[in-house]
Every structure is written in C-alpha cells, then in structure tokens.
C-alpha cells in the first residue's frame, strides 16, 4: 500500500496525468469549435450520431457475451484463490469463534431437535435393565453377607459373655 501511495505522488506520474488532462481539454475545445462551423459542423454531428448508434448496437449485442466471459474469469479466479488459501486456518486466525459461539441462540437449536427421540435413542443404546440387575444383585449379596457375618459375630460375643459369667473355658463348645 505504501509503495502505491508513493507511486501516485511521483512527479513523473503527476506530469503525465496533467498532460493527459490538458490533451482531453484541448480535444474537447476543438470539438466544440468544429461543431460550430457552418458546413462541417452538421456533417460531423451526423457522423458522430451514427458512430454512437453503432457503438450502442455493438454494446447491446456483445454485452451478454462479455458478461459471461467476465463471470467465467471471475469464478476461475476466485477458485484459484480459494485453492491457494487454507480456509480453515484463515477462519481460525481471523474469526473469534468463541464470540460467535457465545452469540449462538442455542435455545432455538434445542427447540428444533426432537429431544425425546434423541433420549430414546440413547437409552436404547444403553442396556439399563442389565446394569440395574447387576448392581442390585451385587448390593443384595453384599448386604446379606454383611448381615450374616455380623450375626455370627454377635453370636460369638453373647456366647463369650455367657461363658465368662458361668466361668466356663471358652474353647469348650
């Protein structure tokens, strides 16, 4: 950008532009003067009108072709540019994805999803009865073992107390 600015300010460029402007001004003045001449003026005006009509016709005919050409060139150009660029990296570099995500209307997205059907699908994938059965079984077995062990221990404690009260040896059954 900086070099372009420098180029535009270059004295040579300024001089060339000035010269061109002067030439255009002179041509315009000459045309106006020639237009006012008695015989030459109408002749020239007529030929200029003919010329512009032909120009209009040509533009009308070839405009569509030209448009198509320009479009094809533009599409090819954009494709080329896109091929050269890594869009993902570009997006990652230039976009604040977090900010976009923060602005997302998630409520609307959720409203569009059939949550019940989704949940059904998830539950279908999980074998819940087996899990419940397994955990219940192991829990019951643990509780039962615990109750029995505690009971046995309590029996032994009672037997020990009675044995001591009666003055019996503990290893007599």
């Amino acid at each position: 950008m900086g070099t372009d600015g420098d180029l535009l300010k270059h004295p040579v460029v300024s001089a060339a532009v000035g010269t061109a402007a002067m030439a255009v001004g002179a041509a315009e003045a000459a045309f106006r003067v020639a237009e006012k001449l008695p015989v030459f003026g109408p002749l020239m005006r007529r030929s200029v009108t003919g010329l512009s009509e032909r120009g209009d016709r040509w533009v009308a005919q070839s405009a569509d072709q030209f448009k198509a050409l320009v479009a094809a060139v533009a599409v090819g150009l954009v494709d080329l540019v896109l091929d050269e660029m890594d869009l993902n990296a570009l997006v990652r570099e230039r976009l604040d994805i977090d900010a976009i995500a923060a602005d997302l209307d998630i409520e609307a997205v959720i409203n569009r999803v059939d949550l019940i059907a989704l949940a059904d699908k998830v539950i279908d994938g999980v074998d819940l009865p087996a899990i419940i059965r397994e955990s219940t079984n192991s829990m019951t077995a643990e509780v039962m073992t615990d109750v029995r062990t505690q009971g046995e221990r309590a029996d032994d404690v009672v037997a020990g107390i009675v044995d001591r009260m009666l003055g019996r040896g503990r290893d007599n059954r």
Binding site: V147, R148, G151, A154, D155, V158, A159, G160, D171, R173
Partner: protein
C-alpha cells in the same frame, strides 16, 4: 471365636442372636401368610354375599388353630425340603439332623410344633455348650451356619 478357629472344617452351631432374628423373620412370614388368608376370606365372602357383607370376626380358637397349622406346615416344609426357612436363609442358617443333612418329616413336624408351643426353649441356646435349644436336645437336631463354600 477361638472355637471357630480351632475347628474350621466343622459346621459351627449358630448362636442366639442369629437364631432369634431368624425366628422373628419367620414369625413375620407366618403373620403375612395369615394376613393373606384373611384377605382371601374377606374377598370370597364379598364375592358370594356382596349385599350382606361385613368384615368377618373370627373365632379366637379357630384363628389360633389356623395360625398353628400354618406355622407348622411352613416350618416343617422349609426344614425338610431345604433345611432353611426364610428367616434362616436371611441369617445364613440351616437346620440339620444329628447325622443327616436333612430333617426327616416326622421330626420336622414335632420340632415345629414344639417350637411354636414352647418358643422360650430357644433361650437354652445361650446356656448350652453346644448351642442347642431345648427342641434341638429333644429331637436331636442342630442349627448350623450355612456357608456358600460348603454347599
């Protein structure tokens, strides 16, 4: 504790706590059965005479007799078939004969009757060196801990 470690292979006789708890559970089971029977009776009466329906007030002697029969059948059945009533299963106990692993039917019947008529006999477990109740002494049975590994 020491006795159990000195004779690890023998079936240890169960003490008063486990047997008492098992008896309480069995009592609850019998009461449940009685409740179910009463409910069934009420429903039957309702079906046959819905107009003149009133809750049946049962004869005390009759109720006692039915309870006794239910309890005897329940205990005998459990002891002779598996050796364990519901309470015994919960507490990990098993009733075995002196020599055999199962109680024979007549012995079971008599033992069940004796246990119901004279439940205090269970307390002898505390005093007896071999942890026998009075019924165990009379009918030559034992109540042992049933271990899953031994089965």
């Amino acid at each position: 504790m020491i006795s159990s470690e000195s004779v690890p292979d023998a079936e240890r006789a169960a003490g008063i706590i486990t047997r008492g708890l098992a008896a309480v559970i069995d009592l609850a089971v019998v009461l449940l059965i009685m409740g179910a029977l009463y409910g069934g009776l009420v429903l039957v009466r309702l079906v046959y005479s819905p107009a003149a329906f009133s809750l049946p007030s049962l004869n005390t002697v009759f109720s006692t007799l039915v309870t006794f029969v239910v309890a005897v059948v329940y205990l005998t059945g459990c002891w002779t078939v598996s050796g364990s009533t519901a309470g015994a299963v919960t507490m990990g106990l098993r009733v075995v004969g002196r020599r055999s692993q199962r109680v024979r039917l007549p012995v079971g019947l008599l033992r069940a009757s004796a246990c119901i008529v004279f439940p205090i006999g269970l307390l002898w477990v505390v005093l007896d060196r071999e942890r026998r109740s009075l019924q165990d002494i009379v009918f030559r049975t034992r109540v042992v801990y049933s271990r899953p590994a031994a089965e």
